[in-house]
């Protein structure tokens, strides 16, 4: 971190100085924006207007703007330099009084509850914001769907009000020294320069407030960056006992890692006598540190000022907080959260949001996830299906954490819904096959296709349940009991599951044949009206069709789909519901055990016979001869099967592998006219 400009003398901000500041700025590549920012700052400073955001960045214009009368935040400063990105700001629990701290677990839960409420209301706000956005990229976090976290004005205002009111409090209590005009002007210029420098260094994390009674105030978000992961752990006490801060042996300890920590918020109010005589009034706000530790940090800042009074100190403060605050507490390897339930230190400059592990741990984890997600959104990624490169915002991430580009997911989903193969509509990752949440499917498919998906899903699920039947009259699904009796809850029709007729106690179901006969006879009754005749005609046709189908097919035991086996073995898998069953006995099975323990054969006799018949009859003959005439024969050099010598012919033709070889020399014969003859083996010899 280059700190070259912290000792700038209070000269006028010439363009030269501007360029110097630009160079020392951290990060790179966004100079044009920054220039613009500085200009605007100046202009706005001069105007001292209390307007809200000028339409600067496309992403933040829709933020809810609340008007706190005392000051108005410069919205545009919140705007991220990355188009389309959101700056993630942590959310604080509003604490009206640090002092009144209720040790009861119950009220802590209450506070956690109110935090959750707040979170939820933020989510609602964000969702509404999200819908106005052009890019339809809502990513699923680790707990269902929510729009990305963007700062929500309401909570921030409260916290900043808090900080600012503290600053006011601090300021009021102190008497300002009398200074000369000259000194005041020098200070003023120094402050101006310092603010400019800070802004150019910290960019997105530096927020200037409207002047309070002519005094400058601002806030810096200090992000503690670490190269690798940050380990955090905390002891979870079963009870909070203030009097004896014991740690009993049966405490649980919970550890986790994050890559990003919520920032330390340093809010400052510059008195007129800064930097010549007095330090800035400041508050430090850290969500996850307790008040004693924060107070400790405050003292550190005090001593930093003491070391070199009269000089600008803010940069040093920030530098120290960023690089050394963790090690100051011995947190280099691991951060220990807590202790909880301790009395407030009484330092008015220390603002903490740390309440209990129940609130802190999720907060830290969620902040981390949000930051990681933001990083993902802003960088380019390659979709592993189509190999196109898009910004992270164009991707969809599934709960199983696999991500694919929007276009691919849409094509994939559309195809499966169109072809009704919804059972295959899972995470495309080859090993994962995780579920795709319905809410996401709805956005991918659109309302109409999603409805189709829903009905397909419903039908599939119902069919796979063997005790659910649809009422013959009103089609609503009903539950059948073990007597195969069902009563429809909608139309109260009481019917038999098997034959779908009115319930018949003690009598077996009417067989289709009987039913068919009866219905066919009824067709001849003149008393039937045309409508009734037609309906019964349809039923007859249905029965005949089913009869025809079942001639060659059997029904899946789980979903009753008619399946006919054309070839292969008796182990069938139903395409509709995935149930394995035996074709021979129509029982549902798992694996091949059913065929091993003698219940059913794996291959029907017919199939086996067909194979045998396909085999070359000469082959079989040869095999039989080989078995019988065990006297004269040889092993084939190619496949080692025994071949019988026939008719004194030494030229052997192997029945198993159709190899030609000589009985005498046992070698492969390529051209018999060459092999046998006066020079070679004799073709016919007895024995």
């Amino acid at each position: 971190m280059d700190g070259g400009n912290k000792q700038e003398p209070s000269s006028t901000a010439t363009s030269k100085q501007q360029s110097a500041m630009r160079k020392t700025r951290r990060g790179g590549g966004k100079q044009n924006h920054r220039c613009l920012q500085i200009e605007e700052t100046r202009t706005l400073n001069n105007l001292e207007s209390s307007s809200t955001s000028p339409p600067q960045s496309q992403s933040q214009s829709h933020e809810p703007t609340t008007s706190a009368p005392s000051f108005v935040r410069r919205r545009h400063k919140w705007a991220s330099r990355n188009p389309g990105a959101h700056v993630v700001k942590p959310r604080f629990v509003k604490k009206s009084e640090l002092g009144c701290f209720n040790e009861q677990v119950g009220s802590l839960n209450e506070q956690v509850g109110s935090l959750n409420e707040q979170v939820e209301s933020f989510s609602v706000v964000e969702r509404e914001i999200g819908q106005q956005e052009k890019k339809r990229t809502v990513v699923i976090g680790d707990s269902g769907e929510h729009a990305e976290v963007s700062e929500s004005g309401k909570g921030e205002e409260d916290d900043d009000d808090d900080a600012v009111s503290r600053l006011e409090e601090l300021e009021l209590g102190v008497e300002e020294p009398e200074l000369s005009e000259e000194q005041l002007r020098i200070n003023d210029q120094a402050q101006e320069d310092e603010l400019l420098a800070m802004e150019s260094i910290f960019g997105d994390n530096f927020f200037v407030f409207e002047r309070q009674r002519g005094l400058r105030s601002f806030q810096i978000h200090i992000h503690i960056e670490s190269p690798g992961e940050i380990a955090i752990s905390t002891k979870l006490n079963s009870s909070i006992d203030l009097k004896t801060a014991r740690s009993s042996s049966d405490d649980f300890s919970y550890s986790f890692t994050v890559q990003h920590l919520p920032p330390i918020m340093l809010t400052c109010l510059l008195p007129k006598s800064y930097p010549s005589h007095r330090p800035p009034y400041f508050t430090i706000s850290v969500q996850w540190l307790d008040s004693i530790k924060i107070s400790n940090l405050c003292s550190m800042l005090d001593s930093l000022w003491m070391d070199q009074q009269g000089q600008e100190v803010i940069y040093q403060w920030v530098e120290w907080l960023q690089s050394s605050s963790l090690s100051h507490f011995g947190f280099d390897k691991e951060i220990m959260l807590g202790p909880y339930g301790i009395r407030d230190a009484g330092d008015r400059r220390a603002l903490t949001g740390s309440v209990s592990p129940d609130a802190d741990i999720p907060f830290l984890q969620s902040y981390n996830n949000d930051r990681l997600h933001e990083n993902f959104r802003n960088s380019l990624h390659e979709c592993c299906i189509c190999f196109s490169e898009y910004a992270g915002a164009e991707f969809i991430r599934l709960p199983c954490m696999h991500f694919f580009c929007w276009k691919c997911m849409k094509t994939y989903s559309d195809m499966h819904v169109k072809e009704s193969t919804i059972i295959k509509l899972k995470c495309p990752d080859t090993k994962c096959r995780g579920m795709i949440p319905p809410g996401l499917l709805k956005r991918l498919l659109g309302d109409e296709e999603f409805e189709r998906w829903e009905s397909l899903m419903l039908v599939k699920t119902l069919e796979s349940m063997s005790d659910i039947v649809s009422c013959p009259r009103c089609k609503t699904p009903c539950l059948a009991d073990e007597d195969d009796h069902a009563q429809c809850s909608k139309c109260f029709f009481s019917f038999c599951k098997l034959c779908r007729e009115r319930r018949h106690v003690g009598i077996t179901c009417m067989t289709p044949e009987v039913k068919l006969r009866i219905l066919q006879e009824r067709q001849n009754y003149s008393q039937l009206d045309d409508d009734q005749k037609r309906r019964e005609r349809e039923i007859i046709n249905d029965i005949l069709s089913v009869k025809e189908i079942l001639r060659d097919a059997k029904q899946c035991p789980s979903c009753n789909m008619a399946i006919s086996r054309t070839e292969g073995c008796n182990k069938m898998v139903c395409e509709n519901c995935g149930q394995y069953f035996c074709y021979r006995c129509e029982k549902g099975i798992e694996g091949y055990d059913h065929f091993r323990n003698g219940e059913c054969e794996l291959f029907p006799q017919e199939t086996v016979q067909n194979w045998e018949a396909q085999m070359n009859p000469r082959q079989i003959l040869g095999q039989i001869q080989a078995d019988q005439a065990a006297v004269n024969g040889q092993l084939c050099p190619n496949c080692r099967q025994f071949n019988a010598k026939l008719n004194n012919n030494n030229h052997m033709f192997c029945w198993a592998c159709q190899h030609h070889f000589c009985y005498l020399c046992k070698e492969t014969v390529k051209r018999s006219s060459q092999h046998y003859g006066p020079k070679g083996c004799k073709q016919h010899t007895p024995g």
């Binding site: 299906i385 190999f387 094509t411 495309p428 990752d429 182990k571 194979w611 051209r671 018999s672």
Partner: protein, 184 residues
């Protein structure tokens, strides 16, 4: 859409980069031939087969069609048509699979571990279950006959008819050896 063709190109390129000889049938990147070697440590070792690959329009969301051009003796390959019964091709295809997967993993696995419970070639399946040695012999035989490097590219029809003729001829006359049987 441009993105599907990018995926096709990538897949084809990856296949070619993995040292497979690919021959396009037409310029549309829809169909092509690939020369596939039998996996080591299987009876198919040393055999070379020409495989026809057809990429459907909806590729990669739909699986490619795979067929063996020259004959192969395998329980899950239809001897006459060369079509393959491979569940990952038909049932469990995912858009994340690609052609290299097919040729490096799936086909070799299929050849190394045939699945006799779901055979297209019932005779091969039965033989494999009954007499493994004989089955392996037959496989090797078929490789000798139909899967030599020179067999790729030339049509296979005239060969097989030659073979059959010569066998029948032999059956009728004991004395005369039939010329040119083993080496066509």
């Amino acid at each position: 859409m441009s993105s599907p063709s990018k995926r096709r190109e990538m897949d084809l390129m990856k296949l070619m980069m993995s040292d497979y000889k690919v021959e396009m049938i037409n310029d549309g990147m829809q169909e092509f031939f690939v020369d596939f070697n039998g996996p080591k440590e299987s009876p198919y070792q040393g055999g070379v087969w020409r495989i026809r690959v057809e990429l459907p329009d909806a590729y990669p969301y739909k699986s490619p069609s795979i067929g063996f051009i020259n004959k192969i003796y395998h329980p899950n390959v239809d001897e006459m048509s060369g079509s393959v019964c491979l569940d990952v091709i038909n049932q469990t295809w995912s858009p994340m699979f690609d052609l290299v997967n097919v040729f490096e993993v799936f086909l070799p696995q299929l050849l190394l571990y045939p699945n006799p419970s779901d055979p297209l070639n019932g005779e091969a399946a039965a033989l494999m279950m009954r007499d493994r040695t004989a089955y392996e012999q037959r496989v090797k035989e078929f490789c000798e006959k139909y899967a030599k490097p020179e067999d790729i590219g030339a049509g296979q029809e005239e060969k097989s008819s030659d073979e059959e003729l010569s066998e029948d001829e032999y059956a009728s006359s004991d004395d005369e050896g039939v010329a040119g049987q083993a080496d066509p």
